[in-house]
Amino acid sequence: MSEPTPSPSIDLAAIRRRLEGAHGPALWRSLDELAQAPEFAEFLEHEFPRQAAAIHTAVDRRDFLKLMSASLGLAGLSACTKQPEELIVPYVRQPEGLVLGLATSYATAMPLGGYGVGLLAESHEYRPTKVEGNPDHPSSLGGTDASIQGSVLGLYDPDRSKTILSAGQIRPWSAFLDAVTAMRTGQAAKGGAGLRILTGTVTSPTLAAQLGELLRQMPQARWCQWEADGRDTVRAGARLAFGGDTPPQAVYDFDKATVGLILDADVGQEGPGRLRYARDIARARRVERGDRKLRLYAIESFPSPTGSVAEHRLPVRSSDVEALARAIAAAAGLRVRPIDAPVVKQHQAFVKAVGADLRRAGSSAVVVAGHGQPAAVHALAHALNEALGAVGTTVRLSEPVEAGPTDELASLRELVAEMRGGKVDCLVMLGVNPVLTAPVDLEFGKALEQVPLRLHLGLYNDETATLCHWHVPETHYLESWSDVRGHDGVVTILQPLIAPLYDGRTAHEVVAAVAGTSGRSSYELVRDHWKTVRATADDATWAQWLQDGIVPDTAAAPVDVRVRGDWDTTPLPAALPPDQLELIFRQDPYLHDGRFANNGWLQELPKPLTKITWANPVFLAPATAERLGVQNKQVVELAVDGRSVRGPVWIVPGQARGSVVVHFGQGRRHGGELARGHGFDAFALRTMAGLHVAAGATVTPTGDITAVACTQDHQSMEGRPLVRRGTLGQWRAHPDFAQHETHVPTADESMFPPWEYSGHTWGMAIDLTACTGCMACVAACVAENNIAVVGKEQILRGREMHWLRVDRYFGGSLDAPEIFAQPVPCMQCENAPCEVVCPVNATVHSSEGLNDMVYNRCVGTRYCSNNCPYKVRRFNYFLFQDWQTETFKMARNPDVTVRSRGVMEKCTYCVQRIEEVRARAKREQRPIKDGEIVTACQQACPSEAIVFGDLNDPQSRVAALRKDPRSYNLLAELNTRPRTTYLAAVTNPNPDLAKEA
């Protein structure tokens, strides 16, 4: 507009007169308008030339309505699309059992490798956000492990397969049913001769019954099973020892044991009973048991959490374990054929001492072999247990839990041969990824391409799915109705916590479709199965099963069998020459066979003892690395049988000299953004002959160096008394042996009187005798407290966000070191160094002794972190939280603030859980009971190493533990007065071996 011209004077009197004469609510825009100034009219014309006519003429009612409706219509245009009409209705009557803001728990179970662990899943407004072990379930007793904790994130994984795909096209379920029906009609004619079903190990009674029914319909069809980290050796060993088609399986009662021999087994970390065993071992290792305290001997090639707490740990190559086991068995009084290997001569004293100790322990001894050991070692363990009289006390033999125990490798090999021979018309793969996990020399992928119809059910659009004609997204276990058995056979009904997020189906539905009985939901399939199995079970009983998370009287029946006299007749393996390298394949401790590879929590969780994240290096013993002339992070070419992969070296003290250990599960080609591009695919080296151990591996150094994201670079305690460990003898002589390592300032050294805590005052005690460093607590902390995943680059910069970490130290020799683990949460210091230095009072002490972090107030100077002697504070250097992905928003715990960029965060002792219990207790007008508040780390710990409670309550467990003579403060000499205290570890070494050392 041009320069405004001064308007001619307005005749106010005239205006007033006109307004007085008007009726109704007269609206006017400006004095100019009222004055009907010609300038105003001109302005209007300039501004709205097309409407000028309308403005100048008087507006009648009809035109007014026209204009108004046009305006409204135009206003609507700006919204672009018409929103569909959707009714939203608030809760008029709140659904029964739902109180907004209060979490509810449902019992379910997580199947892994076919076996289930009973869980209680926490649901916030119908969203599962966290799982805990079901205390009533024998495979858990309340404990969980990292993979279970991480599984919740798997539910919300945005990379999950979401739609039914056929040749890359999204198709409806009905189209899939049509394809299956067509196949079925063809197959029915020939008795299913061309139909093959491939599953993992199955314990689900419903699925087993469905498959049985299908096989009855089509007798020529076959059901094969394949688990990458399967238990073929366990089954073969039992068959060797006991004979028969369905040999019994062993369940161990470590809590009754006083001497345990572990033969290359990671009992607390692997296998169906891992959590129960970890708990039993921890209980059996309690100091209070005195002379009955469990003494563990571990012979292992790679340091395992359980092995790391063993009193006597012998690192030997996996291939040498059998020779040692035979020698020990002989020393314990069992007649076995010896293997003449140098390793036996080398460890004569160990062999003799262990043999004698086992014999002394007799029926309270227990011998366990790892599934990476050949069948003969398992048979030997059975024979030795029987000879010692342990069967019946520490070892229970029962009917197999698996629905169709079979030699999985043989069944897979046969399947591939048939596929190659063109005998398979249709292969249905349920929840498996054999293209990735099958032994590489089977060339499963190539054979698969010869199958005319390939159907796949899976959580991800993975390596197998991409080669299939039909891919059906599988439901996550938290979305499924199903059932599963625990390590001792106890059945849990899986109940869904949420409707399937995507178009997912269970294996039950797919099998029903193949069997021609589609149309029934998973719920009906499971419910009906149990109606037929337990005719007496009415709805109330069913509800009880669901509520308890266990179906009573389903434990595997005990069997009374004896070891065959001629079990030890198989040809003995030749001893591997001492200078030869063996290559050991292990499943990734968290990612398993790669099924959790797209899980950020698990990728970022430091591996037990090695503390590696986001990768799977080539693990070497220090001596081996020295001999090969390789360094940490140096890329090597690892070759066996003409196949090779490249990966960085990581040297692990305590690994067996001559063993090369790789974890499979990384280096995926499909299956999500995080699954791809980290580490190498160790399956590329894994053959049928060398499923667990391959002899004759070569390691060739290359010139490359690559970054390995490790969260703890330093291995030694530098002579500082951080983890304190003594023997049973020392403890007896000086129960307070741990308390005199450093000067502990007394309370009267301060000028100020100590603060009086009149109400609660929280504290935590961590028993280092129990802790194995399995990392379940850290995973639980991540899940509970919405801890962000930062990625490999940031870990390399030292910016991981874990509030709780498990420190690992080595002591003694490089080759056979003592291994220490120490969980370090915030110490909630009474004299907290972080609190004084915060310039804005963002970290302050609560009236109950907690060191509170006020995120809103934090400006991020990081001084508190610098001044924290325990370095437990974590800083959001970037916006680490994913605020974009919709599904992750559902995964978060609504009780915990989601931290943003630029603020410090740290362990809060799960203050949200404290407040939740406080509110409940207040509502019920009663005091808070000891043990009612359970922190996430404490709840997850399979070893019950962590105890939390009120120090002001003299009856509380934590107060008692604080008074225990073993109790000590970390860095007490700094006078920080931590609320988290440690109980020194007490071991029970064999006096005969202690003398040797």
């Binding site: 940031q794 004084v836 009072n841 991020g860 603020v903 970390l970 860095l971």
Partner: protein, 464 residues
Amino acid sequence: MTPDASIDEQGQALPASLIGPGHTFGTITEKISSIVLSRRTPTWWFLTFGVAFLFMNLMLLTIVNLVFRGIGLWGPNVPVGWGFDIINFVWWIGIGHAGTLISAILLLLKQTWRQSINRFAEAMTLFAVACAGLYPLLHTGRPWLDYWLFPYPNTMAMWPNFRSPLIWDVFAISTYATVSLLFWYVGLIPDLATLRDRSTNPVGRVVYGLLSMGWRGSARHWHRYEMASLLLAALSTPLVVSVHSIVSLDFAVSVIPGWHATVFPPYFVAGAVFAGFAMVLTLAIPLRRLYGLQDFITDRHLDNMARVMLATGLVVGYGYMVEAFMAWYSGSLFEAYMMLNRFAGPYAASYWALILCNVLAIQALWFKRVRQSPALLMVVAMFVNVGMWLERYVIIVVSLSRDFLPSSWGLYAGTKWDWGMYLGTLGFFLTLFLLFIRYLPMISIFEMRTMLPESKVETEEAHA
């Protein structure tokens, strides 16, 4: 301190070594003001300014990126929560100290030789504080909330935590910046009036006229000026000691081995003066050559500054010795390890480089030949500039990288953005400094005039 000090105190005519021969009131005024009032700007000025301006823009780029993307662009982590940010903060703050020392303490001690260097030393102080101040403001996770560090009335009813040394820092630095600015500006007023009077450029006349606040040079003005200067000098004097003492408390108050040391305040103050004089030399030596100011900044000045550097450098060296001694004498496992880690840890190279720069290199200053050779002095000053940066690197990074729990030990490395900010603030500093020498008298004209024998006589007479 100087052999001529006694003469100064007696009010005798200064030896010619502090001012070139043959100068009168007129020549001094002409020489200094012509640099500012000349219409011709030297080519080297444009070249240097261009480079400095470029780096200043690198700083702006870094700041924008930092605020939008996060402090993670810089290198800190856990355990090393501070890196280049605080190293550079302390380095810049330390540099500023020479200016305050020269203008305040030397004024009170009647060290008249300071008069030719105090103006640009004070300017250096101001610009160094400006650079220093950027770091603590930007190194926070949420810089837009930095104002929470100030005690201001707010609806949250929150005070800052007065126990935190960072709050003490806020007060120390802001006081320091304010007093330094006032002192510098008050000192400029008579010279601004000179420029106003001599300027032929109408814009210059208006701007200098406004800035000179109506100074007419009356006796009353001079009287008030002298009083104000003395008062400001008295105010500044404790700041010389307090500011860096408080900065040192950022470390000494903590529990970290290598930080938690009672020697820190004096050792930091000495280090600051040491670094400051090195920077004054770094600026003075090229300036006197480029502008032909050898008559005003004489070899005597260089010699005196070198002596101060040597003295404070020896105090700093003593600080290093005490640190090592206390590490052993304390009997603390952690302190002992801290020292061993400095000697032979992953950052040992930086520690030994620091010893080379701050302890060994300055021993050359015992020799008069070195002290009076601008080229050699420049080399030594450069060593000290680098050495004092390394000192803060060793204190901050090396101490944090290995503290109590070996599990948490970790390494630190500055990122390209750390370097961007450091080089950027160097550019910012130089930009400001070049603008200063172009548009303001870098040497105090009226104070130089008082150094001529004529003025002394008048003073004598006035007293008589």
